[in-house]
Amino acid sequence: MKRGENWSLALLLLLAVVLCIGVPTLEAQGKEQVFPMLCYRTGPYAPGGSGNCGGWEDYMAFLNTKGGVEGVTLRWEECETAYDTARGIECYERYKPHMIVVNPLSTGITYALIERATRDKIPVVSLGYGRADASIGGDIFPYVFPLVTNYWSQTAAKIRFIAQKEGGEDKLKGKKIALLYLDVPYGRETIPILERLAERFGFEFRGFAVPPPGLEQGAQWVDIARRFRADYVINRNWGVSCTVPLREAARVGFPREKIIGVWWCGSEEDVRPAGDAATGYVASNFHGVGTDFPLIKEILDKVYGAGKGNLEKERVGTVYYNRGVVHGIVHTEALRTAIQKFGFPITGEQFKWALENLDLTEARLQEIGAGGFMPPIKTAPDNHEGGGWVRFQQWDGNKWVSISDWVPPYKEIVWEEINKSAEAYAKEKKK
């Protein structure tokens, strides 16, 4: 045998031995609530994933310095998914015995986990993303929670924001709104609701598809700027394709102030590569950005001051970091609600109850230092979204500046669509 083969056989034997090693278990010590977290610090969306997990963990570390939630310390364990669905399922199955909630941070993993988690009675929280029709909760999606706001609410809020900028909803008539979307299901998700809104308000809507991965958008922008002559463009991309519209718009001379990005295209990592071309770009968000909030300042002081921070200090206050803090706030407040009602320890079902009876008022947010940081949320068994409020920010070349207050969506239209879609899902599933 060749020498290399000797080594490889030895390695294979070693791996076979490793195979017999069991999976390390996660036992809670004392009054401790364990949160297994599905994260992606590698892979194509690592900046988003690392920021999100980092912010969330920092918030939990901060709460621990104040004695935890109702006297229960928080512990977390990360499981790397690299945004891959198979890894996400494996992480979920591995940590299932210790989970009271699962947060996939990925649409693909969420879809794959809906059936499993519903059977295992563990709520799936898909904060700020899909699936939008799960907002209806109830019997159809009992364990899925697209909290704070979903894509359809976001789209409706965008139209309301444009109406505000134009000076009233009647001014929308005759305007041209283009949706530049990545040609995957995520990108096409908001087309029906935009068509409904176009019908209602009389503006002209057209969708411009960009084939994935979306690095070539020149033709679409010539179309949008010269032929269609859009008044506003909604930028619905993801990952690397978020930056391209800014450069292309600069090239065809389309004003960046009229481009409104979705919140997965509204972070520092998306605009910095475009340099000057990005100045003036507007993006939507469901939380505040920057470090100018009492809560963020306290985290910097107590957590980073003690050297226990999860990320580099410069990333505190960035969009994804703050989004992670929102995740942390929502989960810990739900935990507090659950412990107040059921005592400790909590099961997945009890946590689901807490998520359905979450009432995060403005007063409570002020109390924890998050006043103006995130919108108030009030969920119900048939409303797993809890609000749908959105705000808008603009890139000034150096940082994001908030340019609006909380903008509500058009609830009737959004919920009509949600009901329609959920009924179709129920019919398919029951067959």
């Binding site: 083969e5 590698t42 690299a82 879809y111 794959a112 096409r188």
Partner: protein, 356 residues
Amino acid sequence: MFYRETGVFRESYAADMALFPIPLDRWGVLVLLLFAILGVPYLTSQYWMGSLIIPFLIFALSAQGLNFLTGYAGQLSLGHAAFMGVGAYGAVILYARYGVPLLPSLLGGGLIAAAVGTLFGLPALRIKGFYLAVSTLAAQFIIEWVITHVKWIGGGVFATIDTPPLRISGWLLDTPVEKYYLTLTIVVGLMIFAKNVVRSRVGRAWMAIRDRDIAAEIMGISLFRYKLLAFAVGSFYAGVAGGLMSFTYYAAANIEEFNLLLSFRLLGMIIIGGMGSVLGSFLGAGFIVVLPIFINQVLAAFGKLAGRLVTTDLLANTEFMVFGALIVFFLIAEPLGLARLWQTLKNYLRLWPFPY
């Protein structure tokens, strides 16, 4: 000393044509099969079955389909994940919308994938090698686009069809054990068929085409028939694997799972496992699907020992690096794949303890 053929007397044509002529081989495979049927559900947990063994079996099946196409017939294909997607949607549509029973709808999904695969295999009659790879790459994108945009297939704006509860003539399959048995039965059945196909006239024709297609044509092997047959059979396996995936693993048919990255992973599976070998499909699937989890566990154990020195993103990135390094190492040590390594080991054991 082991695996020797001396002392093995075959006294009938059936014994001569057996799949595993050497007794040690035959017993080994039987023991493995018994362990898979009886041992795995009782000795391993739901986690192992549901998230490690079921995807391992499904990807092994799909890799075998690609092995037919690339390993035996020599037709390089980069669109295999798309054929899995066709099979997935076909099976779920037949099962959910038309009420076809479970097993026939899996078969139907496979046949639909075979038809689509044959269609995209037509360029193979004119082009070879890298050029064929590009045209199958086109298949990947075209099929993804069609499934996303044609409402009748994709089912609305999410382009995801959820699988209704699995029922085989009234029996509800909802535990991981039952889903594991379903997957195991189908995969074992199709792999036995695969082992026979590659020894048959069809398999030999494929190998002749791979080695020198002009000589094969001169000898009278119809390139048209056998190349298209390779695409058809390979895509059939991919389609059944895709159907199994959306029935037992994802519980939904979602085209974003069957993307270009998966096509590359499948190609990686057969290259590392061994092209042109049924065992190679299993080994390659195990390497790519299951090994990263173990690297993750070993590194996590090291990480716990090192305490706060090791951050979570360092662990995640190290896992990537270790996995890549292992691929490079194995391919340098044995370019023909892990199956070849196994064969070399068997040859060594045959002579052991003698050196030659």
